[in-house]
């Protein structure tokens, strides 16, 4: 670490000197690149933070009083969703300093931690933030080989959300029942994906939001490649492809072979393509995460699944459906594909396999922190992730979702805090969160290394099917082949299977 620090400082000097020389040469009036930084040691300690623009702004607003009180300075780098992950991965791979503290997707933990880019979290810090209180599913996303390398910030999971008010409308329900033979339930929404499909079809093409136009649809999902398609598709597929008797989902734990083209995944994709092409708003096969939220909050679709459906629906400036949404865990399925036997198994009670989509943003400390900033940086992350701060974040419109036992109990704060969810919604929300995070058949997101590459391969294939470029089977055959090739490159199928087992806590 020592040498990295000095190298970085050296480079700053070189860069600054070269910049200054170049400037002197052309006598441009502006200040040179690195000037003023040589004198840094006598000035305020600067804490450099890299995160998403929106979420980072919240962190900045929350942390500024603390930062100023301690006489530090905060410099915040703001990134888009896609760029943040790319830049973290590239800076890690190229051993380049990005920031002291960064928000990063826990999917990338194997890559980032193995490259030696993070500092292990000191015991004092873990104690100071009451780490025992963090849900086990979340702890898993923070650690590697039994050591803790990151701090919790956000218990991101996908929630299924639906228009409770419409489902409770007797007139609508009786017409629905005439067509599909079962009742719409305002308490649970769709319990299986078959029900979800019926609801999609039913709510498409007539004016249930009474705006005078038939621009109303069944559902909107995140379907855009390079955005959040990975989670949109996997959340749709887990119920078919994750068997309760089999721990594995993405690749086989014995052979390391990709499972992405098995009948479970193919069924999910075939149905999803149909839903998104027919029962989603125009452009629905190319929606960003934000587009799908906008469609839901704008009252144009009857159901969706998302990370922030709950919190964003409360904002009056963007949402017309405050208090009208119900929440549940992702729908399940009566039929689940069993990869071991190669057969579909039938379950009388629908089998759910809620996807720990993303597993959340986590806060990590770079191995390249300047020694002078050491105290400031650890103080910063402690203050940011301790229980009181965590509660303040998850009960406000920050994009962060609950991740602690204590937060699951804090119905009162969710109901009457800044989010103003109200008792009923708060209960729904926390129940769905707890049920997903505690579910015995929950699916852990991919985190066994090479995540960016696997993700790109899957998004490429799935988006080809969504755009009708390839039939679902062919598209997923390509994905599976690409998965195997990436595994081969990352150290072999067996090697990846071992890492996968490790991320599953085996």
């Amino acid at each position: 670490m020592e040498s990295k620090v000095s190298r970085r400082q050296f480079l700053r000097l070189v860069g600054g000197a070269a910049g200054a020389a170049a400037l002197a040469a052309c006598a441009a009036p502006a200040a040179p690149a690195g000037s003023g930084e040589e004198a840094m040691s006598t000035e305020k300690v600067v804490i450099r933070y890299a995160g998403l623009d929106g979420m980072g702004a919240r962190v900045e607003a929350f942390m500024l009083p603390w930062v100023e009180e301690n006489g530090y300075e905060l410099e915040r780098g703001a990134f888009g969703q896609q760029e943040l992950t790319d830049k973290i991965m590239q800076s890690v791979a190229t051993d380049t300093y990005l920031a002291d503290i960064f928000q990063f997707p826990s999917n990338a933990r194997a890559d980032v931690i193995n490259a030696g880019a993070l500092q292990e979290i000191p015991q004092e810090v873990l104690e100071a933030i009451d780490f025992e209180d963090v849900l086990p599913g979340i702890v898993n996303t923070l650690s590697w080989e039994g050591k803790i390398y990151a701090l919790p910030y956000d218990g991101d999971i996908h929630y299924y959300s639906f228009r409770k008010d419409l489902f409770a409308n007797e007139d609508i329900n009786s017409r629905f029942k005439d067509s599909y033979g079962f009742d719409l339930s305002p308490d649970t929404g769709a319990v299986t994906w078959d029900q979800w499909r019926n609801i999609c079809e039913f709510f498409t093409g007539w004016d249930w939001n009474e705006n005078g136009e038939d621009d109303d649809f069944g559902a909107a999902c995140m379907t855009k490649r390079g955005d959040t398609l990975w989670w949109g598709f996997n959340s749709r597929a887990t119920a078919y492809a994750k068997h309760p008797d089999d721990d594995a989902y993405f690749i086989d734990l014995d052979t390391g072979e990709a499972r992405l083209n098995n009948p479970g995944f193919v069924r999910a994709l075939t149905e999803w393509v149909e839903e998104m092409q027919n029962w989603a708003p125009p452009g629905g096969t190319n929606f960003t995460y934000g587009d799908s939220l906008n469609a839901m909050n704008g009252g144009r679709v009857a159901q969706t699944y998302n990370w922030d459906a709950v919190t964003s629906a409360t904002a009056p400036e963007t949402s017309v459906i405050q208090g009208l949404q119900g929440y549940n865990i992702l729908p399940g399925s009566h039929e689940v594909f069993n990869s071991k036997s190669g057969e579909w198994d039938y379950f009388d009670v629908p089998s759910h396999a809620p996807f720990h989509a993303f597993g959340g943003w986590v806060i990590a400390v770079s191995a390249q922190v300047d020694e002078l900033a050491y105290d400031a940086v650890w103080g910063f992350v402690t203050h940011l992730t301790k229980p009181e701060s965590g509660l303040a974040f998850v009960t406000d419109l920050t994009g962060a979702s609950p991740y602690r036992f204590s937060q699951m109990e804090a119905v009162e704060e969710f109901a009457t805090g800044p989010l103003q969810l109200g008792e009923e919604v708060a209960m729904d929300y926390l129940n769905a969160a707890r049920e997903t995070l505690d579910h015995p058949n929950a699916v852990t997101d991919q985190a066994f290394g090479g995540w960016v590459q696997y993700r790109d391969a899957l998004e490429l294939g799935v988006s080809k099917a969504l755009a009708n470029e390839l039939p679902p089977q062919d598209a997923l055959d390509e994905v599976a082949a690409a998965f195997n090739e990436i595994s081969e490159r990352m150290g072999g199928l067996q090697h990846q299977a071992e890492l996968y087992a490790r991320t599953l806590g085996k």
């Binding site: 452009g283 988006s463 080809k464 099917a465």
Partner: protein, 308 residues
Amino acid sequence: MATEPQIYPSKRSRFEIRDNLWKWIFLVPAVAIILILLAVPVLWTLYAAFTDLHLYRIGDFDTKFVGLANFEKLLSNRSFWRTARNTVVFMLGVVPAQLIIGLTVALALNNITRGQKLFRTWFLMPLMVSPVVVSFIVGRMLFQEDIGPINDILRSFGFEGVPWLTSPTWAMVALMAIDVWQWSSFMILMLLAALQGVPPDLHEAARVDGANQLQAFWRITVPLIMPITMTALLIRIIDAFKVVEIIMVLTGGGPGQATESVTLAIYRTGVKGGDLAFGSSQAYFLLIVLMIFGGAYLVLTRRAMGKD
């Protein structure tokens, strides 16, 4: 107007000996910089294309030479051929459109006297705007499917809204429209310069000889503006083969892989995915295609014009 590059007579300076030092001091920095920043990447990429070099590999792995494996993979890779096809389609779409618009507008511009400078200045504008902004403004906002103005106007005339960004075909059309919007100006200005080099009396003479407007245009104007047109076309063709920025911002290569260009694929596999080896082999493929195409183009146009 020369059809061949002019061979300049070397200017003999009387001060050659005293100047010998300056002669090198002036030239060497430029040559050195270009050599280093051209040769190193070209050679390194060639090396990388024959290895299994990777940016993100976990653990200790030695870089191996893999021979032609990357190129074999390239030739059998359906995704890569898709991007190659997209790139060619894009080029074939934008370059003729720019030529037609460029010629039409340049002829109109050459035909008027009042306001010519004003139009010329205005037509320069798109060339100054960054491709990122262009694809953001033109693409993201105007082609927005739901409430973008283009679909809104179409609908108000009773047409269906066009799925600009979700249909593979229309997404390509939208990208082409952006490129045409931005780069037609280049053609206009080049062709205007060429047209202004045509002596008006030649035209008049042809008219006096009984040729009509169109015949005079074909016999006199076209041959005279041909050399510049050919150069401008080559520049645009090469640029179109390298297209990447507008795609990144507008469609990210989607829907599916319908608009992914070769350069975007190289960025995606090489920089983002970290597969430097496969990325390098694709970059070399593009380089070789450009070399062959550019060379053939130059030889063929020279020969064709030589016959004229």
